[in-house]
């Protein structure tokens, strides 16, 4: 015999800013799983190469970066094999930027569903982050394969114990992308301009973090501007990632703590503003 609980609910014009409805999100966890599954299955079904596409993009980007930034421009890679250095940056950066860009259009992309049925809207951006995790996982495999190739060929890198922070790094990237994405998504429902900004903004943002150059080089070459790079919360995350897997990079608990702080701040602000906009966005989108 199933116990039927009495749900009493109210709908009001104003809701508390800090009513984040996280328990409701938990009640809809099955939907989250099904949406992730949908994304994955539909991705397979429409392509010939299927999951191979996950490999192609980072692989080609790495090759291009190696030629242009590594060889042509001659930017240092802290003594690491160039492809490995770029691949580490690209893999991590891609996950963050995918989370950010997909989350930032979540209201527009799902206006159809959102306009017809209620479920905790937070489920959608969460499903994006989890779906992208699958892609990130596949790209990590590529990165690990590359690492073992270079290891067998005797390249100079070593794994450090910081690698244990990997799960934390992944969660940080996801939440940072989610938080910033939700803020942008909430604002784009009214002011469309932001959508254009995100398009090239994310690309430019990549240059203000350490995807194509190590932090140490930036610090010596542009000591007066390096703060821009250091204040980018993705920088400590990327540096920790590289330090863990490849043994080079500027890792410090302080900067990682800073990244955690910024991430949490953006995330809470993102959820609050997202929940506020979510209530009436169908009228303005």
């Amino acid at each position: 015999m199933q116990h039927k609980e009495e749900h009493n609910w109210t709908i009001e014009s104003k809701a508390s800013l800090f009513d984040l409805k996280l328990n409701e999100v938990w009640a809809y966890r099955d939907l989250l799983a099904l949406l992730v599954r949908r994304d994955f299955v539909s991705f397979y079904k429409q392509t010939i190469l299927g999951p191979l596409w996950f490999f192609i993009q980072p692989l080609f980007t790495t090759i291009i970066f190696t030629f242009i930034f590594g060889n042509l421009a001659g930017i240092s890679t802290d003594g690491l094999p160039k492809p490995l250095f770029y691949m580490a940056g690209i893999t991590a950066w891609n996950y963050f930027s995918d989370c950010l860009t997909k989350t930032s259009t979540v209201f527009r992309d799902n206006a159809g569903i959102f306009g017809k049925v209620y479920f905790p809207r937070l489920i959608m951006p969460l499903s994006i982050v989890v779906s992208n995790l699958v892609r990130f996982g596949v790209q990590m495999i590529l990165f690990l394969l590359m690492m073992s190739y270079y290891y067998l060929n005797g390249a100079s890198f070593h794994i450090t114990s910081t690698i244990l922070l990997f799960p934390l790094i992944v969660v940080l990237m996801a939440l940072l992308g989610l938080g910033a994405g939700m803020i942008i998504s909430a604002m784009t429902t009214k002011y469309r301009d932001l959508a254009f900004l995100v398009g090239f903004g994310v690309q430019l943002l990549m240059y203000t973090t350490t995807v194509i150059y190590p932090l140490s080089t930036a610090l010596t070459k542009y000591p007066e501007y390096a703060w821009i790079i250091e204040y980018n919360p993705m920088t400590p995350i990327l540096e920790t990632f590289r330090y863990g897997f490849l043994g080079e990079g500027s890792f410090s608990w302080g900067s990682l703590g800073y990244a955690i702080g910024v991430t949490m701040g953006l995330l809470v602000f993102g959820i609050v503003i997202f929940n506020k906009v979510e209530r009436t966005f169908v009228d303005t989108v």
Partner: protein, 418 residues
């Protein structure tokens, strides 16, 4: 024992901004914010006015709903009727939490299942089974709950053979059946349904109505039902709410409300324009009646009356035929006619104007028209009920002639004395 209140709506209002949203709103937002800081009323909401779409107002804020108050008892099936734009859909959207009200409060008891559209979130690439789970979860069901009801859902939809086929291969009828089946099996205390029955064939519509009736009478669930089909409302709902320009103009037993609605609605319905926006299957654009080449809904003469339909064919592979039906205001079908009454038509992409003479032997009285289109396997593409009303005004002789019957059909009697 007095009945429990299932939904209580208090002073509910919803304002919408007309025209362009997005230009100049930053300055307006700042102005609003400044007013709020000083503790004043929102300067843009104050100048709002009632939502009458046919008259041009001087404010670009309209109240889609204004100070709505009502209560619905548990187990009641309540119809919501009103003209296009009267606020029906807004009310349902607020009740289903899709959008928040501008002011006011709704309190209720029990889980809400709302069906504002069938098949929300269906993914064409996924199989029927996968979509049942996905759609069920979107509607708020847990996975094991869907699992338990899977057989029942499949059975109700009648799609067992196609369960593992991607839904993009489904006919539109099958698609709707599956989608409704999922929603109908949701365990909820309150069911909200918005005109979803306008699609699907007559047999399935009956089945859905039956299911909803069962839900409200048998299981004691509350049903809120929006429809333009007065027949369905009458069949399903004991009480009805009549919305006019965002106000409740009546809330009593269904037949009284329908009478009032039809009486007031006559003046407004001489031309019908499809609300379906950019849907790629949107075919029927406009329907109107002309009397001696003038748009009218009061037919003074019996001759020269035409029903006009504007069709926009975007995908001529899907589209096959169009037909209409004329009914009395008591919902009795007089007759039905299709374009294949003349000859089999071949349509190509483009806009068509169809002109059909209105039969001369309709008796004086009020009538309304349903129109619909079918695709190549005769499933419904679009079906609109009560798109327009018209009134046949008889001559004095005719009005004096009190013979019964639905149509006026003087016959050529051959009378010979033997």
């Amino acid at each position: 024992m007095s009945k429990k209140i299932s939904i209580r709506v208090e002073n509910l209002s919803k304002a919408y901004q007309l025209g362009q949203i997005g230009t100049g709103t930053i300055s307006r937002d700042l102005e609003r914010w400044y007013a709020k800081v000083r503790g004043k009323e929102d300067p843009f909401l104050r100048i709002g006015e009632a939502n009458d779409r046919s008259t041009k107002g001087d404010s670009d804020i309209v109240w889609s709903l204004k100070d709505i108050n009502f209560e619905i008892e548990q187990g009641d099936a309540v119809g919501i009727i009103g003209r296009n734009g009267a606020g029906k859909s807004t009310l349902l959207k607020i009740l289903s939490k899709v959008t928040a009200p501008t002011s006011g409060k709704i309190s209720g008891r029990g889980r809400i299942a709302s069906l504002l559209e069938v098949g929300t979130g269906f993914h064409p690439e996924l199989s029927g089974r996968e979509n049942i789970f996905l759609n069920g979860a979107i509607l708020g069901m847990r996975k094991k709950e869907i699992q338990r009801k899977l057989e029942e859902i499949v059975d109700f939809a009648g799609i067992e053979r196609y369960l593992d086929t991607p839904v993009k291969r489904y006919s539109s009828g099958m698609y709707v059946r599956l989608a409704f089946a999922v929603a109908a099996h949701l365990e909820s205390e309150i069911l909200i349904v918005d005109e979803v029955l306008a699609v699907g064939d007559a047999e399935f519509q009956k089945k859905c109505l039956g299911k909803m009736g069962e839900v409200s009478k048998g299981e004691g669930r509350t049903v809120l039902f929006v429809s333009h089909n007065m027949g369905s409302v009458k069949e399903l709902c004991t009480k009805s709410i009549l919305l006019t320009n965002g106000y409740i103009s009546d809330y009593t037993n269904t037949s009284a409300v329908i009478q009032k609605y039809l009486k007031h609605n006559i003046k407004d319905s001489s031309i019908w324009i499809s609300q379906q926006s950019t849907n790629d299957i949107a075919l029927i654009k406009q329907v109107w009646i002309t009397n001696n080449s003038i748009i009218a809904n009061k037919l003074f003469t019996k001759k020269n009356n035409y029903l006009n339909i504007k069709l926009d064919i975007k995908d001529n592979i899907m589209f096959k035929t169009i037909g209409f039906e004329i009914l009395t205001k008591e919902d009795i079908s007089i007759f039905c006619s299709h374009d294949y009454d003349v000859a089999s038509q071949h349509y190509t992409k483009g806009i068509y104007h169809l002109k059909i003479p209105v039969p001369e032997n309709l008796r004086p009285g009020q009538y309304y028209v349903n129109v619909g289109t079918n695709d190549t396997d005769l499933s419904t593409i679009e079906y609109f009920q009560a798109v327009i009303d018209f009134e046949v005004l008889g001559s004095i002789e005719e009005l004096k002639d009190l013979r019964p019957g639905l149509i006026y059909y003087p016959l050529n009697w051959s009378i010979t004395k033997e």
